[in-house]
């Protein structure tokens, strides 16, 4: 095992258990904090995959996003009275966990069956600046239409979110 492998295992375990904690902890404040740890872990995994630019963007975008969720949780909940965090019903719970397990098992078996020959980490061009330039070139030549569409989508979302959240009787009404 090389150093990068050990890094991967540490990051993978952190990310996975933080992800489990997001759904397993009843208090949504801790869920938000664990989600932040998950996001940082995913950014670290992107580092191990030498996608430095994506890792940085992941940190910038999701750090802000999770902070907003955290604040929303703080503003919208009376945390002393959060008792029923999970859905009720033993039978439906068994059904939900069972079906999730079936999906997981089928994905695992698909991975196991298709990747028989393990691709090695081969030497590729890992210069982050060259990689970032390649990314930008692809983004603004081949995928420029999708880029524009995303821009319009974000504009629509901006208008929609303000229209939804504003309403009457807010603090700035």
């Amino acid at each position: 095992m090389s150093l990068i492998d050990i890094t991967f295992y540490i990051l993978a375990l952190t990310t996975f258990f933080a992800g489990v904690a997001v759904i397993a902890i009843p208090n949504p404040v801790y869920s938000a904090l664990c989600l932040a740890i998950t996001m940082i872990g995913v950014a670290g995994l992107f580092f191990t995959l030498e996608a430095y630019f994506i890792a940085g963007v992941q940190l910038i975008v999701y750090a802000g996003a999770v902070v907003i969720m955290f604040v929303m949780v703080l503003m919208l909940f009376d945390l002393k009275h959060e008792k029923k965090a999970f859905s009720k019903g033993l039978f439906s719970m068994i059904l939900k966990i069972g079906s999730s397990a079936v999906v997981l098992a089928s994905i695992f078996s698909a991975i196991y069956l298709t990747i028989s020959a393990k691709p090695r980490l081969e030497e590729v061009n890992t210069d982050a600046i060259v990689a970032a330039k390649g990314l930008a070139l692809q983004l603004f030549t081949k995928n420029v239409f999708a880029f524009e569409v995303i821009g319009i989508l974000l504009l629509v979302v901006l208008v929609g979110a303000i229209a939804l959240a504003k309403g009457k009787g807010g603090t700035h009404a």
Binding site: V29, L33, A36, I40, A43, Y52, F53, A55, G56, V57, Q58, L59, I60, A63, G64, V67, I68, F70, V71, L74, M75, D127, A128, I129, A132
Partner: protein
């Protein structure tokens, strides 16, 4: 990797030294801030302990460390204790990615009957050629420390301060990110060292096919991006929660904001985080707009040749080390000046109202940053189109 014992150990020592440098600078900054405030307000400030009150910081540190370590009744203990550290870590991590001077080249030498090959030690914590993205990304994690501190204290004033802090930092992060897009487009790199390297010599640029030279000005980014520099400076003030944007800890409204419940050494760690953010912001401003560690009109080679010609530092290793120190002093001078600007502004401008702060961020800074980006792009396009 091919790194051997000497290289690994020196790199480890170097990282520790850079971290300690940051921690060490904090008491000095506290002194500068207190004496500077006193100077601006025409009073004396701390002047009893030691010459010029310089030992005041030592006394303060002792006092902070020996204070009682208590946790408020309503606090969430683990998060309450973790929050100051979470505020310090992003500042420390970003500081390590900043290039502080020219690299030190160590020629091969003999030790313990073995020859150790030539090394190059960067004058920074670790090398990273997308330093700007990294610094922005890790720097944006700084808000968690404040938010967790405010929530875990179990105090309404703390919580209000924390929510203000999060809204303010997220809003101004946009303006901060957009304000440096112009300079990134001009120099075409994410690498801080490369960015500094292209700011040497005198001011020169080409526009519509003609070369322009301005002999009496250095080739600094601020002359290409004056608006960007202003926006970056204002956003940096907001990001490090300094006056006139220190709404998260507005003492007239919120007692002390997110750190109301903190005292003693935990408070000091918050201070370290805040001053660390200020240092990182100042260093970034110096790198983006003031030529980084370069001295105007003095090239690295000429300084190195000067040291090579002296008797004391005649060997190439020592000359390289001395050159690095000289350029490090140059960066330090710029950073200290900018930190003084932080203190200066604190006693010059009154605190904003919260809605004014938000409307400044979203309705003034963000549109101007966009305009700056577009104008820069047009400028670059027209300087290339007929050249």
């Amino acid at each position: 990797m091919g790194s051997d014992l000497v290289e690994v150990s020196i790199n480890t020592i170097k990282m520790l030294a850079i971290f300690l440098m940051m921690i060490q600078a904090v008491p000095m900054l506290v002194w500068v801030e207190r004496r500077g405030s006193a100077f601006i307000q025409r009073r004396f400030g701390p002047n009893r302990v030691g010459p010029l009150g310089l030992f005041q910081l030592l006394a303060d540190a002792v006092k902070f460390i020996f204070k009682e370590n208590f946790v408020p009744k309503n606090a969430v203990k683990f998060l309450y204790l973790a929050a100051p550290v979470l505020a310090l870590i992003p500042a420390a991590l970003t500081f390590t990615a900043i290039p502080l001077s020219t690299p030190v080249e160590v020629a091969s030498f003999e030790l313990f009957g073995q020859s150790w090959g030539p090394y190059v030690f960067q004058f920074r914590g670790f090398e990273m050629n997308i330093g700007i993205i990294y610094i922005l990304g890790v720097g944006s994690l700084g808000v968690y420390g404040l938010l967790i501190a405010g929530w875990a204290s179990g105090n309404k004033y703390s919580l209000l301060g924390a929510i203000r802090a999060s809204a303010q930092m997220i809003s101004y992060e946009l303006a901060l990110g957009l304000s440096i897009v112009g300079i990134l487009m001009i120099y075409g790199t994410f690498d801080l060292v490369e960015l500094i390297g292209s700011q040497t010599g005198h001011l020169q640029f080409s526009f519509s096919g003609k070369e322009y030279h301005v002999g009496f000005l250095p080739n600094w980014g601020i002359f290409f991006q004056p608006l960007g520099a202003l926006l970056f400076l204002v956003s940096a003030f907001a990001e490090s929660n300094r006056l006139p944007f220190d709404l998260p800890e507005a003492e007239a409204e919120l007692v002390a904001g997110f750190h109301t419940e903190y005292g003693g050494f935990k408070m000091l760690v918050f201070f370290m985080g805040e001053y660390g953010h200020m240092m990182v912001a100042s260093a970034l401003f110096a790198i983006f707009y003031l030529g980084g560690y370069h001295i105007p009109f003095v090239s690295v080679d000429s300084v190195k040749e000067f040291f090579l010609s002296t008797e004391m530092f005649g060997t190439s290793t020592l000359a390289s080390l001395m050159t690095a120190l000289v350029f490090h002093l140059s960066l330090l001078f710029k950073v200290i000046f900018l930190l003084w600007v932080f203190v200066w502004v604190r006693w010059t401008l009154p605190r904003f109202k919260y809605d004014r702060l938000m409307s400044l961020g979203w309705k003034t800074m963000l549109p101007w940053a966009l305009v700056n980006t577009i104008v820069t792009a047009l400028f670059i396009y027209y300087s290339k189109v007929s050249g």
